[in-house]
Symmetry: C2
Subunit: 721 residues, 2 copies
C-alpha cells in the first residue's frame, strides 16, 4: 500500500460526486474538485472559492464556484476522446497527499492521456496542469482548452454578465447576482508543439482551439495555467488574473510545481503525525492531514474553514462550531498562526453575532450557526426537506444551538493556553468572550419562585432532539464562558486600566455583577448511576435500540430528528453530546465518570455526524478502550479516503470532504493515543496506544517552543525541536 | 320544514359514522348512537358511558361502550329482515329534538317496521324502545332481541369476562381490563303477543328468541327496556340493572316515555332560545340545544362533558377547555346547577392538576389538557399520526397548552359573576384559582437583565403553532387568573379569617407577594396597526393565503400543524386565538380594536376547529358584521345537523357531536345577537340582530332571578319570569 496516495481504477461516473471530494486539490483560496479535465456539469466540476458567497433568488446562500480554467477536451479526426464520450480501455486517478498533485491516466484505442495538476500552495490564485497525449495512430488533432462555465451549482446560478477576452491569455469575467462581486478567471497555455490556433466562445465557455496533424507514437504536452481573482481580492481582478497566468506560463510548469512542493514540505514538517505499525491507519492520517492542511486559509488574516471545506457548496460553505472544536486544535498545536486566523474571523464577525442576538431579543453575541462572510447567518429556518412531502421542514438549528458562542469562547481561551499568546485576546478576543458571556446572561431564565437558572429551549450537539431544556453540554459551555470572562481579569491583572476600560467601553458593569450569581445558579445536570442526563427529561424518553429506531424508517433518506423523526421521541442520539462534554473538559471528570457515560451513551449514538466518532475515540482512549478507539479512529480518519459517509439529510445533499473529522483524526492521535493534555499550565502525555500502533511521532509548538512528541509502547516523551 | 326534528330518507350505510352522531339519543349518563336496532359493528353502534374509562394495552385511554341492550333482529320464514341483509323499499330515520325520541320506519316487501326509542332523561340508567312490525304476508316469525356485545371500539376491546344470565331479565356483566369496573346491562321485553320463547348465547351476545306464526296485515309490538349500571354507580350493578328493567317493564313504555318527556319539557322551559324569522336557523338552534342539554351530567354532582359528548370514544371521552369556555355559559345562564357540576369536577380533580404541575417541575395546578376521571391526563405525547409514515408524531398539547388552568379560573369567576353564588368558591373554587395562579407564578420566566416576565414555550388556542412565546391569549388568561386570585380577598372581605386560613393552609404567603409584581411584569403583546400579535414573532411568519397553504398539502388528511404541517411556518391559524381573547374579555377592548383584529385574523383562520366560528361570530356581532355573524352562526349551529364537520386529523378519527359548537350557538344567539353582557355587575343587552331574525326570546337566571330576554328589531329588554 502506498501510504501517501489514493488511487482509483476505472471510470465510474456514478461516483462522480464522492470522487470529486476524495480527489480534491485545494490551497485554502480555492478547491478544485477531483474530476477529469473534460468533465461536463454531470460530473460536478467546480472551483469553489473560499469566502465568496451569493444568493440566487430565494434559495440558500452558498459559495460561488468559479469557471473552470483547466478545461481540456480533444478530438482525433473529429472523434471525441473524452471520458463519457468514448469508452476508455483503462482509466485511473491518483491523488498524492504529500504534494496535493492529482494525476490522471486514461487510455483510449487511439491515445494515452496523462495529466498532473494542482492548486498551488505557493501562489493561492494559481491552478496548473500538465496535460499530455501519446497518439497510437495518425490523425488530425483538434484540442479545445479554456475556461468552462459549465460548473456545478446547487442553488445557483450565481454568475451573470459573462465577458470573455481572447488572446495569449483567455480571460472570463462575470459578476455575482447578489453582491455584484466580479469573478475573473484567466488561462494561458504552453504547448510543446506547433499548432494552428483559433478561438471559440460558446454557451459553455471561452476556448482556444489547437489543430494539427499527429503521428502514431508522437507525444504532445500542453501546460495550462489558470489564475483566479475576485474583486474582493483586488479592484482589477481580470488584469491580475491575466497577468498572473502569463507570468506563470513564462516561469513554466516545473518551476510552479517546485514552489508548490516546497510549500507542502514545510506544512508536513510542521504537522505530520508519523504513525508506525499499520499502513491503513498511516494512510488515513495522511489523507486527513492533507485535506485539512490543504484548505487552511494561509492567504488571509481572518478567515475560517467551512464544514465541507472547499469541496463544493454543501452546507452553504458556512463556518460551524467544527471550526473551533474540531479543527482548531491541530492548527493551535502545529501552526498557531492559522489557528489565529480562524479566531480572527470570529473576532471580526462580532458585529454579526451581536445583531443576531438582538434579532432574538437578547444582548451580547449569539454567533451564527452557519456563519458566512461578516458573520451573516447562513442557516435558515428550514434545513431539512421532508422526503414524503418534499416540503421544507422548520428546524431550530439557527435559533436554538446557543452553545456556538461558548464554543468560540472555549477556543479563544484554548488558544491562549496553548500558545501563551495574549495578544489575540487583546485584539478583540477578550471582547468576544465578554459578549458571549453577556449573551448567556440575557438568555438565561430565572424562576420567580426558585433559585436555579435554566437555559431553556436549546439544541445541544445532538441535533435530533430539538428545543430541549438544560442541555448538559450547553450549560457547561455557558458556564465555562462565564468563568472565562472572570478569568480575563486575572489574566490582565498587570493591565488593570486596559481591562477596566474594556468593561467600560462595553458598558459591562451590570453584567459583570451578574456573572458570579449566574455561575452559582445555572442548572447542573441530573445524574443517574453516574450518567449525566443529556437534557431535562432525556431519561424519560423511550429507551430502545438503534436497530429498533432504524426499523421504523419508511424511507432510507428520512431525517431522523425533530418531532417527526424516528429518533426524536427516543434516547437515540445523533452524535457525541455528553461525551463531547467529557472530551472537552477532561479535568472536570474522573475516569469512572467517563466510563459510565461512555457505556451508556455509545450504544445509543447513531454517529450520524462525522463529528461523533472522534469524541467517542478521545474518551475511549482515556478509559483504556483502545480497541474501540482504534475502530473509531479508522472510521474518522478514513472518511475522505473511502467516501462512504452519509450523503443525504432528507433531500439535502451533504457530501463533501470532512474537515472536522480530519481535525478529529489528528485529535485522536495526538490527544487520545498520545494523550497530550494540559494540566496546571503544562503539557503532559497520557499515552493509550492501540495494539496496532508501535510508535507515534509528531511535532507541536508549545508556547512558542517547538517540541516533538514521541510515543512508543514504552511510554511517551517530549523532545526538543 | 319541521324546526323540531331531523330526518333522513333511505338507508346509507356509508354515512353510518356521521349519522350515529347526528341521531344520537343521550341523557348525560349515556349516549345511544343513532343506528338501527339490528346494526352490527360495521355501523358503529354504541352505548357510550359518561366517566367510565379504560386502557387496552398501550393504546389511548377512552370511554367504555356498554353492550347494546336494545338489539332487535328478526326473520320471516328464515329470511332476515334487517338493513344490510335485505333491500328495503323505503327507510327513514327521524330524531325529535323536543323529546329526544329517535324514530325509524323501514319497509321491506314482507314487513313494515316502526320503532321509537329514547335514553330516559327521567331515569338515567334506562333505554327504552317500542318496536313494531306489520306483516304483509303470512309466515313464521323468529325474533332475536337482547344484549349485543358487538359494539364499536376505537382503542378496545375494553370488556372482558362476560357473564350472561337469562330469564325474565337478560343480564350481561363484564369487567373492564384496566380498573376492573363491572359494566352491567339488563334487558326485559314486553311483547303484546304470545310467542314461543327460547334463549341463545353466542359470541355476539345474549338473546331471547321469540317464535310464532304471523298473518298478513297483523301488527305486533314489543317494548324493550334496557338498564345500564356500573360498579362506579352501585356495588351490585347487575342486580340494580335487572331490577330497574323489570320495574320499567311493569310500568310500561308509555309511562316511561311520559316521564322522559316531562323532563325534557322542563329543560326547554328553562333554556329554549326562540328564534323567529328563519326556519333553518331555528332548527339548527334546537339541534344545538338538544344535543348539549342531552349530555348534561344531571345525575352527578361533579362531572363534566367530553369534547365529543357521549357520541362515542373520539378524543378519548376527555374533558377539554371546551367545557369552561364554550358550554359553560349556556348552563351558567340557564341551568346554573349544571354549570356548578361542571366546575365541581374541576375542583375535585385539583389533586390531578397539582400532580401534573409537579411532574413538569412546577408548583400549583396545571390542569389536564384532556382530563379523564380524577383529573388524570388523557392527552399523550403523541396526538397525531403522520399520514405518510403512519407513525405517531410528537405534539405538545399536553405539555404546553397552559391556558387551560386560566380557563378554569375564568369560568369559576364567571360562575360567581353570573349566579352571585359564592359557595362554589368557598367549596374549593377559591383554592383552585389560587393554585392556578401559583402555577403561572412558577411557570413564568424572568430575565436576569430585564424587567418583563415571559411565558415561554406554550401553545395557545391555535394549535397549529406549537411552542411559541408569549401567546397573547395565554398571557391574558394568566393575567386574569392572577387578578382573580387578588379579587378573592376583596370578595371575602367579610370573612377575612376564613381567607387568611385558606392562604395559610396552602402555604401561600410567598406566592401572594409575588402576584402583584408578576401582574406588572408579565409580557403584553406587541401591536401593529392596532393588531395584537398572536405570539412573539407571529408577524414575521410567512403571510400567505389559506389557498396557498392548502395547495401545499400532499394528502387531504395531512395534519396542518407543527413544524411539518403546512400551516406551521405561516400566519395561517387553526382557530380563533386573538379573537377568542377579544370575545372573552369584551370590556378590555374597544370596538375599533375588535374590528382591526377581526379584519386581520379572519382571512388567516382555517376554522379547522369547531370552536372557531363562534368566537368570530361573537366579535362580528359587536362590530356590526351581522352578515358574517349570521353565516358563522349557521355554520356553528348546524354542525350536528349536517354532520359535515372535519372527520379526520391525520389518521385519527375525530367525528362525533360538537358540544362546544352547540354551546357556541347559544352564545352567538344570546351573547352575540342579543348582546347579553355583564357590566359593572349588571346584565346589559347590546343587540346586533342579523336581518334574517325578527325576534329572539330566551330565559336566563341572573343571580337567582328568572328573566326573559326579548330582542326585536326595535331593541332588547329583560322581562321578569
Amino acid at each position: 500500500m502506498d501510504v501517501w496516495s489514493l488511487s482509483k481504477q476505472g471510470d465510474h461516473p456514478e461516483d462522480a460526486a464522492q470522487d470529486g471530494n476524495r480527489f480534491l486539490a485545494a490551497n485554502g483560496y480555492m478547491g478544485l474538485r477531483g474530476v477529469p479535465e473534460e468533465a461536463g456539469a454531470d460530473r460536478f466540476p467546480a472551483v469553489t472559492l473560499a469566502g465568496v458567497y451569493d444568493r440566487f433568488q430565494d434559495r440558500w446562500r452558498e459559495p460561488v464556484n468559479a469557471p473552470n480554467g483547466l478545461f481540456v477536451q480533444f478530438f482525433l479526426d473529429g472523434l471525441p476522446l473524452s471520458l463519457g464520450k468514448a469508452e476508455p480501455l483503462m482509466h485511473s486517478a491518483q491523488l498524492h497527499y504529500q504534494n496535493g498533485v492529482y494525476h490522471r491516466r486514461t487510455e483510449f484505442d487511439a491515445v494515452l492521456i496523462e495529466s498532473e495538476r494542482f492548486a498551488s500552495l505557493a501562489q493561492c490564485h494559481l491552478l496548473a496542469d500538465r496535460y499530455q497525449m501519446t497518439f497510437r495512430r495518425d490523425g488530425e488533432l483538434t484540442l479545445y482548452t479554456g475556461i468552462s462555465t459549465e460548473i456545478w451549482d446547487i442553488n445557483g446560478p450565481h454568475l451573470f454578465d459573462f465577458r470573455h477576452e481572447q488572446g495569449e491569455a483567455l480571460l472570463t469575467e462575470a459578476v455575482t447576482g447578489e453582491k455584484h462581486i466580479t469573478v475573473a478567471v484567466a488561462q494561458a497555455v504552453r504547448p510543446d508543439f506547433e499548432a494552428q490556433e483559433a478561438f471559440e466562445t460558446t454557451a459553455a465557455g471561452s476556448f482556444r482551439v489547437l489543430r494539427r496533424a499527429v503521428r502514431k507514437g508522437e507525444t504532445l504536452t500542453v501546460a495550462l495555467f489558470a489564475a483566479v481573482y475576485t474583486s474582493l481580492d483586488h479592484p482589477a481582478p481580470g488584469e491580475q488574473a491575466a497577468r498572473l497566468c502569463l507570468r506563470m506560463k513564462e516561469l513554466g510548469f516545473a518551476a510552479c510545481l517546485a514552489a508548490h512542493e516546497d510549500a507542502w514540505a514545510d506544512v508536513w514538517r510542521r504537522s505530520l503525525v508519523e504513525l508506525t505499525g499499520d499502513e491503513e491507519a498511516a494512510r488515513a492520517l495522511h489523507a486527513s492531514q492533507y485535506h485539512l492542511n490543504s484548505i487552511a486559509p494561509r492567504h488571509s488574516d481572518a478567515m475560517s474553514i467551512p464544514a465541507r471545506g472547499l469541496s463544493g457548496q454543501t452546507y452553504k460553505g458556512a463556518i460551524f462550531w467544527d471550526s473551533e472544536i474540531f479543527f482548531f486544535p491541530m492548527f493551535a498545536y502545529t501552526q498557531p498562526e492559522i489557528a489565529r486566523v480562524l479566531l480572527k474571523y470570529r473576532i471580526d464577525t462580532l458585529p454579526g453575532a451581536r445583531q443576531k442576538a438582538a434579532s432574538y431579543g437578547y444582548r451580547g453575541a449569539f454567533y451564527a450557526w452557519e456563519s458566512q462572510e461578516g458573520g451573516q447567518e447562513g442557516c435558515t429556518d428550514f434545513n431539512v426537506v421532508d422526503v414524503f412531502t418534499h416540503r421544507p421542514v422548520r428546524t431550530y438549528f439557527r435559533d436554538k444551538q446557543i452553545h456556538i458562542s461558548g464554543d468560540i469562547a472555549y477556543a479563544l481561551r484554548s488558544y491562549y493556553e496553548i500558545t501563551g499568546d495574549r495578544s489575540l485576546l487583546e485584539e478583540g478576543g477578550a471582547k468576544v468572550i465578554l459578549e458571549c458571556a453577556r449573551f448567556y446572561i440575557s438568555r438565561a431564565s430565572a424562576r420567580l419562585d426558585g433559585d436555579t437558572v435554566d437555559l431553556n429551549d436549546v439544541i445541544g450537539p445532538d441535533e435530533y432532539h430539538e428545543r430541549v431544556a438544560n442541555s448538559a453540554f450547553t450549560n457547561a459551555m455557558a458556564l465555562h464562558c462565564l468563568k472565562s470572562a472572570l478569568m480575563l481579569r486575572e489574566l490582565f491583572a498587570d493591565r488593570p486600566e486596559w481591562f477596566a476600560r474594556l468593561l467600560k467601553d462595553l458598558n459591562y458593569e451590570q453584567d459583570w455583577a451578574l456573572i458570579p450569581p449566574l455561575i452559582a445558579r445555572i442548572r447542573r445536570p441530573r445524574l443517574r448511576d453516574g450518567v449525566i442526563e443529556q437534557f431535562d427529561g432525556y431519561f424519560e424518553l423511550e429507551d430502545c435500540s438503534l436497530d429498533d429506531v432504524r426499523a421504523r424508517l419508511r424511507d432510507p433518506r428520512e431525517y431522523w430528528g425533530g418531532d417527526h423523526g424516528v429518533a426524536g421521541p427516543t434516547q437515540i442520539i445523533k452524535q457525541a453530546d455528553v461525551i463531547a462534554l467529557l472530551a472537552l473538559f477532561p479535568g472536570d471528570f474522573t475516569d469512572r465518570e467517563v466510563a459510565d457515560n461512555w457505556q451508556y451513551y455509545e450504544p445509543r449514538t447513531e454517529h450520524g455526524s462525522s463529528l461523533s466518532a472522534c469524541m467517542y475515540a478521545l474518551t475511549a482512549c482515556r478509559i483504556g478502550k483502545t480497541d474501540e478507539a482504534w475502530e473509531l479512529f479508522l472510521r474518522t480518519a478514513n472518511i475522505d479516503v473511502s467516501g462512504s459517509s452519509k450523503q443525504w439529510a432528507g433531500e439535502i445533499y451533504i457530501g463533501g470532504t470532512h474537515p472536522a473529522a480530519n481535525g478529529g483524526a489528528w485529535m485522536i492521535a495526538a490527544l487520545g493515543f498520545a494523550g497530550l493534555r494540559i494540566r496546571d499550565g503544562r503539557p503532559e502525555l497520557h499515552p493509550s496506544l492501540p495494539r496496532q500502533i508501535s510508535r507515534l511521532r509528531f511535532p507541536i509548538v508549545w508556547r512558542g517552543e517547538r517540541l516533538t512528541v514521541e510515543v512508543t509502547r514504552e511510554g511517551g516523551r517530549f523532545l526538543r525541536g
